[in-house]
Point group: C2
Chain length 304, copies 2
């Protein structure tokens, strides 16, 4: 066979400080800021750092403003905040300094109701509100479309429904859409089929893919998406991650594992693997458990 | 993009009772036989059950004849034994009933010396001896070519050297060659490049690929190999595995994770996922630790 064409470079959007930590016991704001700084220092150029969500529903994300004020922001890094609605968007804009806001909605009703207690239609209204607030403030809004590859809580969204949702998000003015395999149900063929359908119908939307390794398929799904031309992926340092409302569904693809594979394939990522491995160790120390990322436990080449 | 062509069916060669258990504390022969029976009952049709190696060097594999005599062999399952040399092959033939013998040699000298204390040339002689014994007994001999994608103990084998090794094994009469990523250093591009070079130079050798998940890349490497037309993979129940002489290099690709991904992609595998998951739980109970396979820890669809 001929080696498939692959992107020359890939952007990793680091979501560990938000998607990773949100399911953990709350950490002190200073520790969260230190982790963010360590990730920026490792070369990551897009980092989701906080979320402006209900502090009672997601206690680990409380204190967003406090964390954000402690981050030693650096040029060239786009820090973003996850916001659920107009109120969250306004809080993020008031905090100042974010390069992007991240809104979210599910591709299917079951997961949306489980996640935010309302239907997809109502959440699309929230997304429109966030885009309006971001637009007024001159801040681009990207949207995470969760459960795009399956939904354990109800009927999964069909390919046509996911395509239509991405179209709607583009019409609403989303600067990018992240297709989330929230519960780790994607397979490479589902990835190829969905991306092919999207390529046919939707143009001009920057896609990001967000895989969870619940069933061990995240890296294979990344490879499938790379072959379909996707050049941006969410990842979480150490492989932390999972919704606090979906117990057992843990593990974003680990930033350091993803970066190592991409670099090993000759794809430019712009990160320092040694510093990423150190960041993964720091994340594990902060949350007090061995994280699922592989690289930190692999022997160094030359050692074994 | 167009969805790449994939094999319609894949054979999983289960190596858990051998490659998996060899690095664990020794288990009672009855337990090892029960695990083998459970794997056959789950639908696996090629199982490496024992090895006839030095009992002092690999104590967990002692008692091969005892284990094998307890297995309730069933029609349609090809049970194989790993053998290092003429003496091991003769012991396996004397034990009787094996459908194949598995010989082994490394693609590079560093790993070969670490693994068996001699150079590749000398080990090629052992492989020839095993093939001669198998041939005389009417038993096909397949060969595992380890460190085919990298060698942490010395200069890695080049693509040309791996191709030449496969050619030699074919000339010696190997019924199949398993390319081993023994220390988890392969990437999808290395897989594509090596398989493309092999397809050009070597014909008529059935290839199997053997990936370790040391760096989290095993399933992506499987996907790459599938696209290159490979239709057989080694896997280990629960993701057990690793050489007792390469500490830290643990984790064959987990049988249940591999089977689930393949089935999810519409590829025929011939196994019962529920029974495989039960076999993975049994393996974890026998070795007394949580194994790295993902499927056993993933929530059932409908639960989360």
């Amino acid at each position: 066979m001929i080696r498939p064409a692959l992107p020359a470079s890939v952007v990793i959007r680091e979501v560990g400080p938000r998607d990773g930590l949100q399911a953990e016991a709350p950490l002190p704001p200073a520790s969260r800021a230190t982790l963010i700084d360590t990730l920026a220092d490792a070369g990551l150029r897009k980092i989701e750092v906080v979320s402006f969500v209900s502090e009672t529903r997601v206690p680990a994300m409380a204190g967003a403003g406090d964390v954000w004020s402690r981050v030693r922001t650096r040029d060239g890094v786009r820090y973003s905040a996850l916001v659920p609605n107009r109120r969250g968007a306004e809080a993020a804009v008031a905090a100042g300094g974010f390069g992007a806001l991240q809104a979210f909605v599910s591709a299917s009703d079951g997961y949306n109701r489980k996640n935010v207690g309302k239907g997809v239609e109502e959440s699309m209204g929230d997304v429109a509100d966030v885009i309006a607030v971001g637009s007024a403030a001159g801040i681009p809004v990207e949207v995470s479309l969760s459960a795009a590859f399956g939904d354990p809580y109800g009927d999964p969204a069909s390919t046509a429904e996911v395509v239509r949702a991405v179209e709607r998000l583009a019409e609403l003015g989303a600067a990018g859409v992240s297709l989330g395999d929230t519960t780790g149900m994607a397979t490479p063929t589902r990835v190829w089929d969905l991306l092919a359908a999207l390529a046919e119908r939707v143009t001009g939307v920057r896609l990001n893919l967000h895989f969870h390794d619940t069933r061990g398929t995240a890296m294979a799904n990344v490879l499938a998406a790379l072959q379909a031309g996707v050049g941006e992926f969410d990842a979480s340092i150490g492989g932390m991650g999972g919704s606090p409302f979906a117990p057992g569904v843990n593990g974003n693809v680990a930033t350091e594992d993803l970066a190592a594979m991409l670099l090993g394939m000759g794809i430019e990522v712009g990160v320092d693997l040694g510093k990423l491995a150190a960041a993964a160790r720091l994340a594990g120390e902060l949350v007090g458990r061995e994280l699922p990322g592989h690289l930190g436990r692999a022997p160094a080449e030359g050692e074994a």
